[in-house]
């Protein structure tokens, strides 16, 4: 049962780690900067409304930015697939943009756009765009040479080749990109909030940090991790539903 083992083993290690923290905190072995997991959970339960107040705008930015990145990446990958000479240029520019630390250009975006929703969406979209674009482009180019020769032999039109060969071959690659980009979307939304916002999980965590409110800070950490992991699992679910041939799932990962 390798499938079960793949889930159970990491989950048990994770549970054991939480348990160890709990026991250590109760025994008074941990510094005050580490809250007991039970205390964090209790804190979250009693501040549910406040947490949601801050989580909502973060989710909104992460989800919208993620969807925008998908649309842009698909359009860009299709463009580069059709106009092949563009590939080197787009890849070079993309690599440069992707290698700039987002936290470094965020202030520039702030003075351009202000502390606004468009600014936060821009940061999230940029951070997600490149991994999706690279994966999809790689996928569009992944049909084996004989498959391309087959479509030549059958006198397929460029559109038929794109629709019936390139896109289905690119689908598993798309999900590889989405799995990388989904947690990045949360990261992008948090970074954007750190540059300044009224509401948001990032704001909540910053406030907790400056106020040395340990339990609140850990609540924020826990929530960010939970949202990030859920986003990843949601992508896995979509993959499961849209690629029915199990042999083609998780290509290249």
């Amino acid at each position: 049962m390798p499938d079960v083992r793949r889930v159970v083993l990491p989950a048990s290690v994770f549970a054991l780690a939480i348990l160890a923290f709990e026991l250590a905190a109760r025994a008074g072995l941990t510094p005050v900067t580490i809250a007991a997991p039970s205390a964090v959970l209790a804190g979250m339960a009693s501040h549910g409304g406040l947490l949601w107040y801050h989580l909502e705008p973060t989710l909104l930015v992460a989800v919208t930015g993620f969807l925008l990145a998908i649309l842009l990446a698909l359009a860009l990958a299709a463009l580069v697939y059709v106009v092949k000479p563009l590939e080197t240029t787009v890849m070079t520019i993309g690599t440069v943009i992707d290698s700039i630390p987002m936290i470094a250009i965020a202030p520039v975006l702030v003075i351009w756009m202000g502390l606004s929703l468009p600014m936060r969406l821009t940061i999230t979209t940029i951070i997600c765009l490149f991994p999706i674009f690279i994966s999809v482009l790689q996928g569009l180019k992944s049909p084996p040479s004989t498959a391309n020769e087959l479509f030549t032999n059958l006198a397929a039109s460029p559109l038929q080749r794109f629709r019936l060969l390139a896109i289905p071959y690119a689908l598993p690659y798309l999900f590889v990109g989405l799995k990388i980009a989904a947690p990045l979307a949360i990261l992008g939304a948090l970074i954007a909030e750190w540059t300044g916002a009224e509401r948001g999980l990032g704001v909540y965590m910053l406030n907790a940090m400056f106020g040395l409110r340990v339990i609140e800070l850990w609540s924020g950490v826990f929530l960010a991790c939970a949202v990030s992991a859920s986003a990843y699992m949601l992508v896995c679910l979509f993959e499961l539903l849209s690629i029915t041939d199990s042999g083609r799932r998780g290509v290249g990962s």
């Binding site: 004989t146 087959l150 032999n153 059958l154 006198a155 041939d245």
Partner: protein
């Protein structure tokens, strides 16, 4: 009447600024309904020749006529069926949908004279596997589906590039017999690339023996074994004579020597 005519066709590639001749000017013809085989060592240009006939690769020089027309026109009119060594089925489509693919690409102008996908699936012996995915089938069964797909538009010419090269010997013999049976029904003019002398003699009416560096036809062997052929014809003197002739053409006087130069 000649179904396939190849006259003075050659192929040169530019490698590091040097022009390398992969195939010297080559002639061959096949009459309607004939089965030809191309046999030769790796690098003799036999797959290249097949791809030039199929209008997948452009020849550097020479003329190719398929039913009196240029390969480009024959390809556009779906007169060329092609079977690759790799079955090249689309893994997300069922056997039926893979066999139907050419009909889908042709669209409404699909010729009505051809067989239905189901008839072809029955013909290649895949009845009951219509809804299986390629990944669920053995290599031999995948290649059967590929043959059905190549025949769905009733092409004038069937080109096969080492179609059974990746199969074990037992499966290969079975597929050889199946292909002979299928061809006896469709009468499609066929040209097959192979590495196996036995397979070439068993399948073909005429064998074109190629040598490498540069690729060229060094002998044309007419196979006098009568049809329909069963595996037992392999014991006949005609079969042995043809095998011997092909082997001699391939290896010359160096027979038995460990000399690959």
């Amino acid at each position: 009447m000649e179904q396939l005519t190849v006259r003075g066709v050659c192929k040169r590639f530019e490698i590091d600024g040097r022009s390398v001749e992969v195939l010297s000017p080559t002639d061959l013809t096949l009459k309607a309904g004939e089965f030809g085989a191309l046999i030769g060592p790796s690098g003799c240009g036999k797959s290249t020749l097949l791809r030039m006939i199929a209008d997948i690769l452009p020849p550097s020089d020479g003329t190719i006529l398929i039913g009196g027309h240029e390969p480009a026109r024959a390809r556009r009119e779906h007169e060329i069926g092609f079977v690759f060594q790799d079955p090249t089925l689309l893994p997300w489509r069922s056997v039926l949908d893979n066999v139907r693919l050419p009909l889908e690409l042709v669209g409404n102008s699909a010729r009505l004279s051809g067989s239905t996908p189901q008839e072809l699936i029955d013909l290649v012996g895949l009845s009951g596997f219509e809804h299986a995915r390629p990944g669920q089938l053995s290599g031999g069964m995948q290649q059967r589906a590929a043959i059905a797909r190549a025949l769905i538009l009733s092409p004038q010419l069937l080109l096969l590039d080492e179609p059974f090269g990746a199969l074990d010997e037992i499966t290969r013999y079975r597929m050889n017999m199946e292909l002979l049976r299928i061809r006896a029904e469709t009468r499609t003019t066929s040209l097959m690339v192979t590495h196996s002398i036995q397979e070439a003699v068993f399948m073909a009416d005429r064998i074109f023996v190629l040598a490498a560096r540069p690729g060229r036809i060094v002998d044309v062997v007419e196979v006098e074994v009568e049809r329909p052929r069963k595996l037992s014809v392999m014991n006949s003197p005609e079969f042995a004579a043809a095998v011997d002739r092909v082997r001699t053409s391939l290896f010359g006087d160096a027979l038995g020597m460990l000399d690959d130069a």
